[in-house]
């Protein structure tokens, strides 16, 4: 279930090659973290998985069938910002996810169906530690709480793949550690396949069962747009215990990790 396959995927914009020769098989339930320098196509890769962009060439498969070319309920997403709806309270944000999935005509549930959905939303909020904030609006939450809400909202419909676009990039280090514990816990509980972009190498190695490094292996100084980035390292971590971050990666990516995060 929920196995993601890429077969020779390319993404080009006119002459410019952004991503090239992507070949990958990700098994169900893996936690894939993605690192790489700014502008090396990490976000483009995630947008293709999300359906916001389509591959220029190649095949992108979920359980053997091509992914729909638009965002859909089989893929959940948590962005770095703007991931929750500002006009709804915390509980209504999660309830909305259930209502949108179950009521295609009005986007609203009534009566018994609504009560059941409310209970499910409340349970989800308790699971991410937001039970006490159910009636607040997102503007009254901290950055970490907003991301907890975004995660709860994305997971309540049990998507097959969860995409995380630098979800903790804007948070304080202390809060980040809490969020790592949370995401690890919900990932283990739901068995969802996770793809997470991060700028933080230790984060990538601490959370992932597999780290993908995006980089441009070929550069033509006369035509910098001629070659794109691809997966240059594919590091499996599961079952090996804690793995030290390879020194070569640290050297390559450190300037990026310290620069302000604009992907």
């Amino acid at each position: 279930m929920s196995r993601v396959t890429l077969r020779n995927v390319w993404r080009t914009y006119g002459e410019q090659v952004v991503l090239e020769r992507l070949n990958l098989v990700v098994e169900a339930g893996e936690f894939v973290t993605i690192v790489g320098a700014s502008g090396c196509g990490k976000t483009t890769f995630l947008r293709m998985l999300l359906g916001q962009e389509t591959p220029s060439r190649g095949l992108l498969l979920l359980d053997g069938t091509p992914l729909a070319a638009e965002p859909g309920p089989e893929r959940g997403i948590v962005f770095q910002r703007y991931s929750v709806f500002p006009h709804l309270t915390v509980q209504d944000n999660v309830l909305l996810a259930l209502e949108l999935a179950r009521a295609p005509l009005l986007g609203r549930l009534f009566g018994r169906a609504r009560r059941a959905a409310r209970e499910q939303a409340a349970a989800m909020l308790d699971a991410v530690g937001l039970g006490a904030f159910a009636t607040r609006y997102p503007a009254a939450l901290s950055g970490g709480q907003q991301q907890r809400l975004a995660i709860a909202q994305s997971l309540v419909n049990a998507p097959r793949v969860l995409l995380l676009d630098e979800p903790f990039g804007a948070l304080d280090p202390g809060i980040r550690a809490d969020m790592h514990a949370l995401i690890r816990q919900v990932w283990k509980a739901s068995g969802v396949t996770v793809f997470m972009i991060t700028h933080d190498l230790p984060e990538a190695f601490a959370l992932g069962t597999r780290v993908l490094v995006f980089d441009k292996p070929r550069v033509d100084p006369q035509a910098p747009q001629a070659y794109g980035a691809t997966i240059t390292y594919d590091i499996p971590l599961r079952g090996r215990g804690p793995v030290a971050v390879p020194a070569e990666l640290v050297r390559k990516l450190t300037p990026v990790a310290e620069a302000p995060a604009h992907a």
């Binding site: 295609p104 005509l105 986007g107």
Partner: protein, 275 residues
């Protein structure tokens, strides 16, 4: 002595400073009025407060000799009804077309240039057409207000809908929304407070078109009355009417602001309300 840019008035001095221009204008008026009345007790141009009081009493409390109506209230009701129809229809058009244009690229490609072109037509230039098509009744006056402000509201709401972070639109789709439920549950509720903002900004224009239409063809209404009594140089009626219209405009603006704060508490708190 701090520099001027660093000197901030406290609450009381801010209130006094705010009142000062009003009091100054009032004083200048009273002085000029007293001077003219001293030269000619029947002067009509700058009547004194006694004349205002008498005119307001006559318009607001004594039935008109011709129709038996209390003219100020009859005029006010007529004008407010036209204004309400005009604003309501404009808001409905603005909301529907603005959202559709903002959310659905195909609709935007088809309609947006048309709305932009429409909004450039000077509404007063089509007033004769409205009178010819709709006659001299209520419809032409309401239509003028709608033609004047609906395109502005449409364009504003379209821009506001396009300003919604694309992340939210994508997120809703990953939660299972289709185009219709996306509009219903995500876009529409976020645009309602912005519609109130757009209405507040359109109020000035709406009054302008209302009074213009009433001045040209009406049998009652605040604008009609002002232009009617102009023939008799009746400044004692015109000036209180202008003050009354200003007060009404202020009250409507205040009510819309209050409604926005009460009905959409999240709006003031979130980034969208920061404007």
């Amino acid at each position: 002595m701090p520099r001027l840019v660093n000197r901030h008035p406290d609450r009381i001095s801010r209130l006094l400073l705010g009142l000062l221009p009003f009091l100054l204008v009032l004083a200048v008026y009273l002085l000029a009025s007293a001077e003219r009345l001293a030269a000619n007790p029947n002067d009509k141009l700058l009547p004194g407060f006694a004349a205002f009081g008498a005119a307001i009493w006559r318009m607001a409390a004594l039935p008109s000799e011709r129709s038996g109506e209390l003219l100020l209230w009859a005029d006010t009701m007529a004008s407010l009804a036209r204004l309400a129809w005009g604003l309501g229809i404009s808001a409905a058009i603005g909301l529907v077309v603005g959202i559709v244009n903002g959310v659905i690229p195909l609709a935007r490609a088809g309609l947006s240039p048309f709305v932009a072109g429409l909004s450039l037509i000077p509404p007063m230039a089509v007033l004769p057409i409205l009178f010819i098509v709709f006659g001299l009744g209520e419809v032409s006056k309401v239509a003028l207000i709608v033609i004047g402000i609906a395109p502005v509201i449409v364009r504003d709401l379209q821009a506001r809908a396009l300003e919604l972070p694309v992340e939210l639109i994508v997120k809703a789709q990953t939660l299972g929304a289709n185009t219709w439920t996306l509009i219903l549950r995500v876009v529409l509720p976020q645009l309602l407070p912005r519609l109130l903002d757009a209405l507040r900004l359109s109020l000035g224009g709406a009054w302008l078109f209302l009074i213009a239409a009433e001045a040209i063809a009406a049998s009652e209404g605040l604008g009609y009355r002002i232009f009617l009594v102009r023939r008799y140089l009746a400044m004692d009626v015109i000036l209180p009417y202008v003050a009354w219209i200003t007060l009404l405009a202020f009250a409507i603006d205040w009510a819309l602001r209050l409604l926005s704060r009460r009905a959409f508490p999240w709006f003031a708190a979130s980034a969208g309300g920061g404007r």
